[in-house]
């Protein structure tokens, strides 16, 4: 206390405002909090949380996890069929976005997409047969995340689909993601018409061959610097990918032009890439997956390594709690709908693309790409404020991804579940909104948040695993 007597008293007032006013009136320094009970007003969970703040085991574990995340160097190393990347897909298995969910509980777009994939694989000849097969359990349905993969929207990956292979060269771990089909009637929004299947077949054959050559011939395959550059060009790498798609297009083109492939095939492949401003999204996701996978699996760490949605539930994982999912119903999306659509038409939040926010991009990098705030009636200043606010719930900021609007400070990265629950600030996600009926497509865009219940459950589990609560005995 000796040191306290020698310092200026600087008080944090937690509770009644009158006390803060009095301290200020008496000439003291005081900061008043806008406080409300954390952890959903669950006092026992709040006490567990309190004992996890400043716990050296958790701080050390977080530092290890965060360091691995910062040091990750995602590189695009290959483009192969899913079954060759993930041994589990040698069997009849289809991967989907978000946490585990039974077929009967799945939302429309995800069911539609799975049926489409079944037809694509040739496991059934008609839509009805495909549905029956899926409902009967004849095809294993598992989260992409269970196999180090990610997929946007319905996030469907089946054995014959080509996937990007991104490797974290610092640690050797790999992550996979499917190819972005474009906008409109596509599998990831649940469409499974012959036109969709035809496109998938082309992607799995001619496009696959061309792109594999392109990837294997890349002279510059490091994704982090490309993403960092795109952040300075108006992308946030979840909802805005145009700049990154353009930068990637340059590299792929040069690689293809240096190859011996048929000119027609090259042209068709590149035309496809050029026509899709969100082409890079799937690479952004794979890169992010490889970065947060590097941080995953550190016992005692409260760092969030997965955020994903399946159109019904939102699920998260922490580095220190292994494969456990912490789920809750997804929060509504605050946004604008395209003409003719309303909130009644909307599917719940869907897709693994929140892996970008998990890594400090997307909604966390909103300062780089303010356009989306217009969907919620905001200004560019609000976008910057949103990014800044996320700093309160992360372990730090990533110096590799700087944002000009934050004075070239790094984007907030490494969500600490303890801080989310303590501050009552939810991770913010920039997202598109899908129609709840399979196959209609995107009907709007906006901003949503991860549900607090996920973080409450995660903290409870981490606290249990560390036996943090002190006993009453002396």
């Amino acid at each position: 206390m000796k040191t306290l007597f020698e310092q200026d008293l600087k008080v944090v007032n937690v509770g009644l405002q009158g006390f803060a006013d009095n301290i200020a009136a008496a000439g003291g320094h005081v900061t008043h909090l806008s406080w409300s009970p954390p952890a959903g007003a669950d006092a026992a969970l709040g006490w567990t949380l309190a004992n996890m703040i400043g716990d050296p085991r958790i701080e050390n574990a977080n530092r290890t996890a965060y360091e691995r995340y910062l040091g990750a160097q995602p590189r695009l190393v290959d483009f192969v069929l899913a079954r060759d990347a993930m041994p589990a897909l040698a069997e009849r298995r289809i991967l989907h976005s978000g946490p585990p969910i039974a077929w009967s509980d799945m939302c429309g777009p995800q069911q539609g997409a799975i049926c489409g994939a079944i037809l694509y694989e040739g496991w059934a000849k008609t839509l009805e047969a495909a549905e029956k097969l899926a409902a009967s359990g004849g095809v294993a349905l598992e989260p992409c995340h269970a196999h180090r993969a990610v997929g946007p929207m319905a996030g469907i990956i089946s054995p014959s689909m080509p996937v990007w292979v991104v490797e974290n060269t610092a640690a050797g771990n790999r992550a996979f993601c499917n190819v972005n089909e474009g906008l409109g009637k596509v599998l990831r929004f649940g469409a499974n018409s012959p036109e969709v299947l035809d496109r998938l077949r082309w992607l799995g054959s001619e496009f696959f061959t061309a792109m594999q050559v392109a990837v294997r011939g890349l002279t510059d395959a490091d994704l982090k610097p490309l993403m960092a550059q795109a952040l300075h060009m108006g992308d946030e790498l979840h909802n805005r990918n145009a700049a990154a798609s353009g930068l990637l297009f340059k590299r792929l083109t040069l690689s293809l032009l240096g190859s011996k492939l048929d000119g027609g095939a090259i042209k068709r492949a590149l035309t496809f890439v050029a026509g899709n401003d969100h082409f890079f999204l799937n690479l952004s996701m794979a890169a992010c997956k490889s970065m947060s996978d590097a941080a995953h699996g550190v016992p005692g760490s409260s760092m969030v390594t997965v955020m994903a949605r399946n159109g019904v539930n939102f699920g998260i994982r922490l580095s220190g709690t292994g494969d456990k999912w912490f789920q809750a119903p997804a929060n509504p999306v605050n946004g604008l709908y395209f003409p003719g659509y309303t909130i009644e038409d909307a599917a719940a939040d869907l897709g693994d693309s929140a892996i970008t926010e998990t890594n400090g991009l997307g909604g966390f990098a909103m300062a780089a790409s303010p356009a989306i705030v217009q969907f919620v009636g905001g200004t560019p200043a609000d976008a910057t404020a949103n990014s800044r606010r996320m700093l309160s719930i992360t372990l730090g900021s990533n110096p590799a991804f700087t944002l000009p609007a934050l004075n070239f400070g790094g984007t907030p990265a490494g969500i600490d579940a303890r801080l989310v629950v303590d501050a009552g600030i939810l991770p913010i996600i920039n997202t598109g909104i899908a129609h709840k009926k399979a196959g209609v497509g995107q009907i709007g865009a906006g901003i949503t948040t991860a549900p607090m219940e996920c973080f409450n459950a995660a903290i409870a589990a981490l606290g249990d695993s560390l036996h943090t609560v002190p006993k009453a005995a002396r």
Binding site: M1, L33, A41, G54, L391
Partner: protein, 521 residues
């Protein structure tokens, strides 16, 4: 009669805001009852029992429930809605404010790592968690909140001790650290006397008196009311004592508490004795002789502790002089006693400070006068109904029963004023004894209604042939936000005998009662 309600998901308001809202809504005419509460399990159950409806809500939701005429209910709910959803001047400003709002102690530290102290006054269920976070972030803590589970208090204080930090509280209402008044505290000159107190108002009287005698206070640290229990073992008292012992700016130390358990008292006194600095100890209600030893001086009442500390700080002797009544005051008191009607025999002590209530009982008991109380000292009786005095009654209006869903009497004296009115009207009342507490946290105008209550009460009593004696103690300094001189003058002109200490006020009261009851003192 109708019952109507509305709930607001995830909207938190603190207890003061809830009470203010409640008061504003109740003002709607035609309304029988109104309740604005957070939807904790207890509150929801209470609402159901009071017939105000059943709710499917979560604890962080806010519920407004009203009953009365249909129109009144609708109007009341409308009013509540306006007050709860009131926006700041512009949408943009509010957004910016929301973005910048600090919602956790960690965020405050991240903004400025110089924050070294947390003052916590959230509901008891959440207070321990906030305190633990503050400690783990390297800050000292003052826990104003009460109803904190004892095991949590022990866990907090154990952690604090292991990390060279102090927890002041739970249930700590008063502190002055580095000259800054915290909680309910008075503006007091800086000086060489350090205080560690387990009682808020006890600390207030001691620090106020030190100032009035021309002395000064280096630090006034609180320990909370349960620190000296067997379970806690005086962790904070010992820490505070050691801290003041090591503080170069402190030359004399004062410890204020009720008597601790013997082994804990022994530990405290051993540390006090080992200190090179003189230590004045008042274990209120205990025998000062048990305390006195080498360099440790036992006091028997609060003002005496202050007197002794000031004397010691000037290098003089610490004489434990008892309260004596000057001759002319003795004549005044006697005169009042003789002017009373035969049936007037009882003292009615109505206190806002718990320790003042306690000390007053001790002073009366020492004069052979037993009383009933809601917080009886040894030998006194509990009241059958705390809202109704019986014979000699000395009560603490700051105790839980009177403060459920209501502000403390130091903040809002209306309940105290109402009780005083009842006491003056009671024909058996001889003396009305009360305290007026000033300083930060206390009401801006503590005697606004009181003078009127005294004036009209006196007039009615007079008309009925009774003379009632009024004795008061004003706990405040000339530097406090309220105007102490004006308050004392106002009381005196209303015929109140204003004493210079709580013990003196109780002594005057006891003298009158002794005469009225023919008791030999």
């Amino acid at each position: 009669m109708s019952t109507r309600s509305r709930y607001y998901p995830n909207l938190y308001k603190d207890s003061v805001s809830l009470m203010t809202l409640s008061a504003k809504i109740t003002a709607v005419s035609g309304l029988e009852a109104a309740s604005v509460v957070m939807a904790s399990a207890t509150n929801v159950e209470n609402l159901a029992q009071a017939g105000l409806g059943e709710f499917e809500v979560r604890p962080n939701d806010l519920v407004v429930a009203v009953s009365g005429s249909e129109e009144a209910c609708v109007e009341a709910l409308q009013k509540a809605d306006e007050l709860l959803t009131a926006k700041a001047s512009g949408g943009g400003e509010e957004e910016a404010a929301a973005h910048a709002a600090l919602t956790s102690i960690q965020m405050a530290v991240a903004q400025d790592p110089a924050h070294n102290f947390a003052l916590i006054s959230v509901p008891g269920d959440y207070a321990a968690a906030e305190a633990m976070k503050a400690l783990r972030l390297g800050m000292h803590v003052m826990l104003f909140s009460d109803n904190v589970p004892p095991e949590s208090e022990l866990a907090l204080k154990t952690y604090a001790r292991d990390h060279d930090l102090m927890v002041m509280g739970p249930d700590c209402g008063t502190a002055i650290v580095n000259g800054v008044p915290l909680g309910f505290a008075n503006v007091v000159r800086r000086g060489p006397i350090g205080v560690v107190g387990a009682s808020g108002t006890g600390t207030q009287e001691v620090t106020v008196r030190i100032h009035q005698l021309g002395g000064g206070v280096s630090q006034a640290l609180g320990t909370g009311g349960h620190d000296l229990s067997e379970l806690i073992g005086g962790i904070s008292m010992l820490y505070g004592l050691r801290a003041l012992d090591a503080d170069p700016a402190t030359k004399v130390i004062v410890l204020v508490s009720k008597p601790p358990a013997p082994d804990i008292a022994a530990r405290v006194l051993a540390i006090a004795e080992a200190s090179a600095k003189p230590v004045v100890v008042i274990f209120l209600g205990g025998d000062p002789a048990m305390v006195t030893r080498n360099g440790v001086y036992g006091a028997s009442y609060l003002a005496q502790a202050a007197d002794m500390a000031v004397a010691l700080s000037k290098g003089g002797e610490a004489a434990a002089t008892p309260v004596s009544i000057a001759n002319d005051m003795r004549r005044t008191l006697s005169g009042l006693a003789r002017a009373m009607a035969p049936v007037q025999r009882h003292v009615r002590g109505i206190f806002s400070g718990g320790t003042f209530c306690f000390e007053a009982q001790l002073v009366h008991a020492a004069a052979g006068i037993r009383a009933s109380s809601n917080t009886p000292t040894a030998g006194n009786r509990p009241l059958e109904d705390n809202w109704k005095s019986q014979e000699n009654t000395i009560i603490d209006m700051g105790d839980d029963e009177f403060t459920q869903g209501r502000p403390h009497p130091m903040i809002d004296p209306s309940l105290r004023d109402a009780r005083l009115r009842d006491e003056i009207a009671d024909p058996t009342t001889a003396v009305v004894l009360f305290d007026v507490v000033l300083g930060y946290g206390a009401s801006d105008d503590p005697i606004a209604k009181l003078l009127g209550v005294i004036g009209s009460g006196k007039a009615k009593a007079s008309a009925a042939g009774r003379t009632v004696a009024f004795v008061g103690y004003v706990c405040g300094t000339d530097q406090d936000p309220q105007d102490r001189d004006q308050i004392v003058a106002g009381l005196k002109s209303a015929g109140v005998l204003v004493a210079s200490s709580n013990a003196e006020a109780a002594t005057w009261s006891a003298a009158i009662i002794a005469e009225r009851q023919g008791v030999q003192s």
